[in-house]
């Protein structure tokens, strides 16, 4: 049975970037971008990703089935998907906006949300969306409406200007490759929860771009290929979490741990025997030889201050490398100081995730300049049992 892909294109995503407007948020910016001669490229990128999916699925299929390997596509009308599908020679069923979409360039965020809902309600193996951070937020909002876990995994085809979210592939082609690997359940492709981020509503702050964490969406996690192994390769990711958890248990001993949000900390908590919230800061009681206990889930800053001194474990946000000040503001300067500052701060990250930062430093934005200065420099990152990497962290 062939797989089902959903596709939603934000046709105006990226328009502002080419003409130097830094984004395409709001109708005025959009109109200005058009006046400056911006050409839409989201549809082109989406078609490129679809062609990659089709080629890779056909290459993987047994010869006699090659004709039936093409995915079935559910999408929105016109430039919100149908045109990209046609350009990639894929048949598509229109589940949103047939005959009712506004004229070219007239669609809005509300259309994105409605299209995602319509497609997800039909059920797909994967939802591809072409756009930027704003589009990712719309997709998140649409899927959150279903309650609980999102009904399908998603993957962003990058076409936007601001690309802070970790839900995007590095290129349209890479999106196609990851999508095909997921659809044919190839080589142990798993899902991981990736951050949806966008520039802060306040825009630029203190001369620096600030961004906010809005939530997580499940995306296919195509592992770095391991075919040409030699001895000495690092442990596969699941084993790495076990090693990090063992190190955390050893450091904390009999004591309290404030565990920041994210997939790394959640996986480490699971290894310690506790189920924690993905988005919140949890208070755990650790005791050697016993499963960790969650004392407080989704604790506020005040609750953390009330819980007493503890070790603090955080993991950098994928894609950006933010360590403190994004998505974990509960771990405030007051909380950090009350716990003992950097002496009690555990930074958790697998070697693979650290390498994926491409040498860029970890980032701090606690809102307390003095504290940021104290924490800046080189921070020991726990990468496994008895293993740390000394990594640069800057304000």
């Amino acid at each position: 049975m062939s797989s089902r892909i959903g596709l939603v294109v934000n046709p105006v995503a990226g328009l502002g970037g080419r003409v130097g407007l830094g984004g395409t948020d709001g109708p005025q910016v959009l109109q200005r971008a058009r006046e400056l001669g911006a050409e839409p490229l989201a549809g082109v990128r989406a078609a490129l990703a679809l062609r990659e999916v089709r080629a890779r699925l056909a290459a993987a299929a047994p010869t006699r089935h090659a004709g039936t390997s093409a995915p079935r596509l559910l999408t929105a009308a016109g430039e919100m998907g149908a045109e990209a599908a046609a350009s990639a020679d894929l048949d598509a069923r229109i589940v949103y906006g047939a005959g009712a979409l506004p004229a070219e360039g007239g669609t809005s965020a509300a259309d994105t949300v409605a299209a995602v809902r319509a497609i997800a309600a039909e059920g797909v193996d994967l939802l591809l969306f072409a756009g930027g951070d704003g589009t990712a937020r719309d997709v998140l909002a649409a899927l959150e409406a279903f309650g609980g876990r999102p009904p399908c995994p998603v993957l962003g085809v990058p076409t936007g200007v601001k690309m802070h979210s970790a839900v995007f592939a590095v290129s349209a082609r890479a999106a196609g490759e990851a999508a095909a690997a997921w659809l044919r359940r190839d080589g142990g492709v798993r899902l991981r929860d990736a951050e949806v981020m966008d520039r802060d509503d306040d825009g630029v702050r203190d001369g620096r771009v600030a961004s906010r964490l809005y939530g997580w969406l499940p995306v296919p996690d195509v592992p770095v290929r391991v075919q040409q192994r030699k001895t000495g390769s690092t442990a596969p990711v699941p084993e790495a979490f076990g090693g990090i958890a063992a190190e955390v248990a050893e450091r904390v001993g009999d004591g309290l741990l404030f565990l920041g949000p994210g997939t790394t900390t959640r996986a480490v908590a699971a290894e310690l025997g506790a189920e924690t919230s993905l988005t919140g800061v949890d208070v755990l009681a650790l005791s050697p030889g016993k499963p960790a206990r969650v004392l407080l889930a989704d604790a506020s800053e005040e609750a953390l201050l009330g819980a007493g001194p503890a070790w603090i474990a955080v993991s950098p946000i994928g894609g950006q490398g933010f360590l403190l000040g994004r998505g974990n503001q509960q771990i405030s300067p007051r909380v950090l100081r009350a716990c003992g500052g950097r002496e009690r701060l555990l930074v958790l990250c697998t070697e693979a995730k650290l390498a994926a930062l491409g040498g860029r430093p970890l980032l701090l934005d606690t809102g307390d300049e003095t504290l940021d200065a104290e924490l800046a420099g080189h921070v020991p990152v726990v990468t496994g049992r008895r293993s740390t990497s000394l990594y640069r962290v800057t304000r």
């Binding site: 391991v226 075919q227 000495g232 690092t234 693979a352 640069r392």
Partner: protein, 537 residues
């Protein structure tokens, strides 16, 4: 003599084949390689009951079973294949054609491995009965020759490293690193500092065995990442050292081929904190006769004799390593050592402070003989010439490869490299969707290959090339031409590359099976138990 032959000798022209037809066809620019594929069964599935290669004489009736200790007697004969000689020979010859051995291909793609020509005369020495027929339990008086070789090799490696003593006990590079870490541990234990000094510092581009051996020996490991220029981050080192520091384990040049010009400062910083410094010279191919571990202030170093000193890599089997130390650490060297009093060689196994044996007896003696022969055949000037040629070859290849569209050379922009380079195909991947690993597999269709890098991939879409001194300019030109062609295909017909190899024995291995120990079957018995699901005792 056949009638046909008589006829041809009788006719007057020597041959009726024209000169045009007789000419050997010009070769294409790239060779039309095709690997043999025999679809050969496992040897355990070949042969038939009763088939024999050798008729073993029946035992002397006086040697009845009671003379064989009961514990050594089998209840049932072993389940060995039963085959005639020719069928055995054919089986293994076929298998030998289904690989891309170092003697067959231009083996510059196995970066960090230092693949060089291992002179065949050295194998003749090793197969000579005067080496091959020795028994490790022979009396010292009867093995003075081989003890002399082991002793002389130690003197050579002392000169090459600048150190005071050398052990040739370790079985290979990681065993040598482990021996060094064990000596560091013994050193601090003897000084009563081991409880305090429990941290070892290394770098992400040093060989991962450094971190692994340190952890195995009970140390905590701190890994330094490169600074923006690709050098080990000296500020990170300053942040890492302290009263807990036991040692720095570092490679130089690192796997990027970049030489750390501040290496003496690294050593000084660690020494000032009270730690020891161990130089991973598994691959010393770019620095032989040019710089020495001792001269940079190191306390220990090690060599892989199967890399720099040409002995075979042995497919992960018995290679040989050497660890070299200062006089202060010499009491902790693995035992035994070979001592010489001016007339007689003696095995010294009475070394109470030694970290113990790394291998039984003297180590992997055949590889010690090969390394000794290689060094002696070159002499001091020859060793330096080997290093200089390797560096020249590497920078020549670097010059050719960096002109290929889609490739880049991360870090230390514009600087020459020592003996190897870690390239990146990130641009080609972004343009074409073809991964570095797939380019390496396509290279197999032209009779060669390459390796990417250790994990994690700090350099994206990596390719690590290390041309040693063994390869000619024509070899390097051919290798670069193959890479150029494969990269062109990635841009013009990516499917050709993605579905490669096309002319090789094995299409692709399933990577997930390499990840899961449950599927590993390294013996026939394990294969039957794990894969065929047979219940075995």
């Amino acid at each position: 003599m056949t009638a046909h032959h008589e006829q041809s000798t009788a006719s007057s022209p020597v041959s009726t084949v024209s000169a045009e037809d007789a000419r050997i066809a010009p070769k294409p620019r790239l060779r039309r390689f095709h690997q043999a594929s025999w679809d050969e069964d496992l040897i355990f599935d070949l042969g038939s009951p009763g088939e024999r290669g050798v008729l073993v004489p029946r035992p002397d009736p006086s040697l009845t079973p009671p003379e064989i200790p009961a514990a050594l007697r089998r209840a049932e004969p072993p389940a060995l294949p039963e085959m005639a000689q020719q069928q055995v020979l054919r089986h293994y010859l076929r298998l030998s054609q289904e690989n891309l051995g170092a003697d067959l291909n231009i083996d510059v793609g196995q970066g960090t491995c230092t693949m060089k020509y291992s002179p065949k005369v050295n194998d003749q020495f090793v197969r000579d009965p005067r080496i091959a027929a020795l028994h490790p339990l022979q009396d010292e008086d009867t093995v003075q020759g081989v003890l002399g070789i082991v002793h002389a090799l130690e003197q050579l490696l002392k000169e090459i490293s600048g150190m005071d003593r050398v052990s040739l006990q370790p079985g290979a590079g990681s065993a040598a690193i482990y021996a060094n870490v064990a000596m560091i541990r013994a050193y601090f234990e003897a000084r009563g500092e081991l409880d305090q000094r429990d941290e070892v510092i290394t770098t992400i581009f040093s060989h991962p065995s450094n971190a692994a051996c340190a952890k195995t020996a009970g140390f905590k490991v701190i890994t330094l990442h490169p600074d923006a220029d690709g050098y080990p981050d000296i500020e990170a080192l300053k942040a890492a050292v302290g009263p807990r520091t036991a040692a720095l384990l570092i490679t130089n040049p690192e796997d990027t081929g970049i030489y750390n010009p501040r290496i003496e400062e690294f050593v000084r910083i660690v020494h000032e904190a009270g730690g020891l410094c161990s130089y991973d010279q598994a691959n010393a191919n770019g620095i032989l006769g040019i710089t020495r571990a001792r001269d940079a202030g190191f306390d220990l170093c090690h060599f892989n004799l199967h890399k720099t000193f040409s002995t075979p890599h042995a497919c992960g089997g018995p290679a040989a390593g050497a660890c070299a130390v200062t006089a202060e650490l010499a009491p902790y060297l693995p035992r035994p050592t070979v001592e010489f009093d001016g007339t007689t060689y003696r095995i010294d196994d009475d070394r109470p402070e030694s970290v113990g044996k790394m291998r039984p007896f003297l180590g992997v003696v055949p590889n010690l003989v090969r390394a000794y022969a290689w060094i002696m055949s070159l002499g001091a000037e020859g060793l330096r010439a080997a290093a200089e040629t390797a560096v020249l070859n590497n920078n020549y290849l670097l010059h050719k490869v960096r002109q290929i569209p889609g490739v880049s050379v991360p870090y230390a922009e514009g600087r020459p490299r020592v003996e190897q380079v870690r390239y990146s195909w990130q641009q080609l991947y972004e343009d074409t969707g073809v991964h570095s690993e797939e380019l390496g597999l396509r290279a197999a269709d032209f009779g060669t290959h390459y390796w990417t890098s250790h994990h994690p991939y700090v350099v994206p879409e990596p390719m690590t090339l290390e041309p040693t001194e063994s390869y000619t300019r024509a070899d390097l030109d051919e290798y670069a031409a193959i890479l150029t062609e494969v990269a062109r295909e990635a841009y013009e017909s990516p499917e050709t590359v993605r579905t490669a190899p096309h002319r090789s024995t094995v299409h692709r291995a399933r990577p997930e099976s390499l990840e899961d120990p449950a599927t590993w079957a390294v013996s026939w018995r394990a294969y039957r138990r794990k894969i065929l699901g047979e219940g075995l005792r």
